[in-house]
Amino acid sequence: MMTLVIAGKELRSLFLSPLAWVILAVVQLILAYLFLSQIDFFLQIQPRLAGLEEAPGITEIIVAPLFGNAAVVLLLVVPMLTMRLVSDERRNRTLSLMFSAPLSMTEIILGKFLGLMAFLLLMLVLIAAMPLALLAGGSPDLGVLASSFLGLLLLVGSFAAIGLYMSTLTSQPAIAAVSTFGVLLLLWILDWAGSGRGGEASTVFGYLSILRHYEPLLKGVFNSTDFVYYLLLMVTFLVLSVRRLDAERLLGR
């Protein structure tokens, strides 16, 4: 219950700052451009596709690249949204408002996380609206679209949890943003290590890589391993954030 109160306040605060609006606009603009150029590409190759057996459909050619690119754009954008969640409150000394209210740390962290997720969900709906518009003129594969949407949601959820944790570590939003970006990028490129040779190390790194679990979902393959991977990632960083806030109360600073 209290979680929702904090989530609501967080969402409202986001929309009170110009940052949220600017981010929504910029992300939509860039992805719309990508989407349109992808449609253009599809229209160019359509005559050749018509002659092929088992030709890739409109979903493979337009939706998968769109969601793939959206993941990269959001990797850049989410740290900017998460950076202020806790660090700004710490800098303005407003954390004590919640610490002296009858709330648990878990409720505070979950509230902040859900508030941000509500905003990100809105952003994803706006992104998904573009391929849905194809329904007017074609028949995209709605199953693949749904699994891509779920994949992107899980992905940004993990981004948000990591960003939230980074934000609990510092009182400087910029530091939180940079370190979140660093961690996300590292998780993204983790599977590059030893990718040529195979072997055990590459399997481990491959499993840890945040991207490896996203790609199957873009193809419409829903594997519970991927789902659990993202869930574990979120829970881990949310628990770490709760622990960090608790430590703040125990250690003072």
Partner: protein, 336 residues
């Protein structure tokens, strides 16, 4: 204003220090370390319902640390805090429901309006949605914020921001309100208004107030606690403090002054200090006895006593005496 203050004290009755029944806040052997630095050292005190408790101490004495611990913002290194009989570490949620806290820097979201902010605070403190509006209106009325409800907190003056901070602390009508230096950085008129507000609050709530402005304590508190270097050095009622302030010094002046030695021989006189020709400060051991002795000696010896005045210490002097004796004692301890 003054008569009402006296009325209130008379009504509340002078609370006895050490009284344990019905203690609203009970602090036992509270300590807090920052690394190797001990910021608060085994502080114990109790506070009764309806009391206004003044926390005094020089900067860095541990006032804010103590208040942060009582409000649940900081975990104590050792000791216990009971609020309404509830341990703030074991049952934080239940204990915090009885607490309102205004930190040194009011925790305000500058991007929200006063109404939005107070509504959020009300919800945070578990006030149901349908009673939220009433709670906000009541808090605003009590803190004189009716006119600024729709303005952004960031655009308000410091005095109004402080009031919003107090409104936030009282929105759920807690039994205990903790105010950390509520009048710091305000102009004299705002200070008066905030004091009147605190006085008003003390009708229904118990208030713990930290400050280093001494007249403030005299004006609004029932009881005073002085902390120095993390230790509790005084816990007394205002009446007790007044007695301390009376002191046992006399200022006397004679037209035909005797020698200092002659005065020092009088019964009850401990020390004589010559201020200017014919004027002395006499430190007495036994209070009124030496006044009599001085008067009769003056008559008998023809010193022509023309001035006799008991000297009152100001609260400031008491404060400095108490904190400095501690400070003198400390270097020895540190060396040992």
């Amino acid at each position: 204003m003054l008569p009402t203050l006296r009325d209130r004290r008379a009504r509340a009755g002078a609370p006895v220090p050490g009284m344990s029944e019905g203690a609203l806040v009970k602090v036992e052997q509270l300590s807090r370390d920052y690394g190797s630095l001990r910021a608060v050292d085994k502080i114990s005190f109790e506070m009764a319902r309806g009391e206004v408790l003044g926390f005094l101490g020089p900067n860095g004495a541990g006032k804010s640390t103590t208040m942060q611990m009582i409000s649940g913002n900081l975990a104590p290194s050792a000791g216990r805090i009971l609020i309404h009989g509830l341990d703030i570490l074991d049952r934080p949620r239940a204990a915090k429901a009885h607490l309102g806290y205004l930190p040194e820097q009011p925790p305000l979201y500058r991007e929200l309006t006063v109404d939005e902010y107070l509504a959020f605070c009300a919800r945070l403190n578990c006030i149901p949605r349908n009673r939220c509006r009433d709670a906000v209106e009541t808090a605003k009325a009590r803190c004189g914020l009716e006119a600024v409800g729709r303005r952004l907190i960031g655009n308000l003056s410091k005095g109004f921001q402080q009031r919003v901070g107090i409104a936030q602390a009282i929105i759920h009508t807690p039994a205990v309100i903790i105010l950390d230096e509520p009048t710091v950085g305000l102009d004299p008129i705002q200070i008066r208004e905030i004091r009147a507000l605190i006085h008003d609050l003390s009708r229904e709530h118990s208030v713990i107030l930290s400050t280093h402005i001494l007249p403030e304590v005299q004006a609004i508190c029932d009881r005073v606690i002085i902390i120095n270097q993390g230790e509790l050095v005084l816990n007394d009622t205002i009446a007790g403090l007044q007695r301390r302030m009376e002191g046992n010094n006399l200022r006397v002046a004679f037209r035909q002054p005797p020698g200092e030695a002659e005065l020092a021989r009088l019964p009850g006189v401990v020390e004589v200090e010559s201020l200017e020709p014919g004027r002395f400060r006499i430190h007495c051991g036994g209070g009124g006895d030496s006044t009599d002795a001085i008067v009769s000696a003056s008559v008998a010896n023809g010193w022509q006593l023309c001035e006799l005045m008991p000297e009152r210490l100001s609260l400031e002097q008491v404060f400095i005496q108490i904190t400095q004796t501690e400070a003198h004692a400390d270097p020895g301890e540190a060396a040992a």
